[in-house]
């Protein structure tokens, strides 16, 4: 009887361990998946091609710019189309997974012309909130930027 109980305990511990390692793998998978999407976003800016970022944004996406201006998906994409980047770089991008959500943070440097055709030379920090949608696709639901005070 005791032996049977011990076997049950061993099986339970093994299952628990497998579940934990699955979680850990899923976490690292999430971080890699979201980091890849951040790179796709960077690529859209480097190539001045907002079509690359459009599918990454959720319908309820909200952008908060460094000047406090808040825009939804359509206006954010319109601004992206009107912005011309000569140089763009992301640095120190970190992704932290929280189950079906993930937070990506990083530094953003860009030069070019902004959506109102003014010269753009900016150094910002950003926080992006990603959510795994019911179809399994990760989409960004919020992006927030702030200028770095020198």
């Amino acid at each position: 009887m005791k032996r049977t109980w011990m076997w049950c305990l061993v099986v339970l511990l093994s299952l628990g361990s497998a579940a934990l390692s699955q979680d850990s793998t899923a976490g690292s998978g999430t971080e890699k998946a979201v980091a890849a999407l951040e790179q796709q976003w960077l690529q859209s800016q480097k190539t001045n091609n907002p079509d690359l970022v459009a599918p990454l944004l959720a319908d309820k996406f909200v952008n908060t710019a460094r000047d406090g201006k808040v825009t939804g998906k359509a206006d954010s994409l319109a601004a992206a189309k009107a912005t011309k980047y000569d140089a763009v770089a992301y640095d120190d991008v970190k992704v932290t997974a929280f189950g079906s959500a993930a937070i990506a943070t990083g530094d953003f440097k860009a030069k070019g012309t902004d959506s109102s055709r003014k010269p753009l030379d900016t150094h910002e920090r950003f926080t992006d909130t990603w959510v795994k949608m019911p179809n399994g696709q990760w989409q960004c639901v919020a992006s927030h930027q702030s200028s770095i005070e020198m």
């Binding site: 460094r66 406090g68 929280f98 937070i103 943070t105 926080t127 909130t129 959510v131 019911p134 200028s147």
Partner: protein, 128 residues
């Protein structure tokens, strides 16, 4: 008995969060900030959960006032919510007097039935 919906819960927690900040209440933050929490402040610094709690415990940081307005909450499934709000404050933080209006986005995650903040990020509102 009716239970508060997630947006209502988040609105209450959002207010509690800023109230705790005003009172330098580190215990509230300890309980309601997720492990892995990150804060991006309006002058471009990052803070981890530990940094944020140390700031709350720093007796030299003093809050004169702080008011939340225009609070909106959007939910994404049962476990994620994002709040957007304006925060006007006057405080002495790390030896610098800061009186400003910022706009903030906070991400909340439902951790086994408890809503916790995963990230907060604020930026200056132009002209305020």
């Amino acid at each position: 008995m009716l239970r508060a919906t997630p947006p209502q819960q988040i609105k209450e927690l959002q207010q509690q969060s800023r109230d705790a900040q005003m009172k330098n209440d580190a215990s509230w933050a300890q309980q309601h900030l997720a492990d892995g929490f990150v804060a991006g402040n309006s002058w471009g610094d990052w803070e981890t959960k530990d940094d944020f709690i140390k700031d709350l415990q720093n007796k030299n940081n003093k809050w004169k006032s702080g008011n939340i307005s225009e609070l909106q909450v959007a939910t994404f499934g049962p476990n994620t919510a994002v709040s957007h709000y304006t925060f006007t404050y006057d405080a002495e933080l790390r030896g610098t007097h800061r009186a400003r209006t910022v706009i903030c986005s906070d991400t909340w995650i439902n951790d086994s039935g408890t809503w916790k903040t995963a990230a907060t990020h604020c930026s200056m509102v132009k002209g305020m």
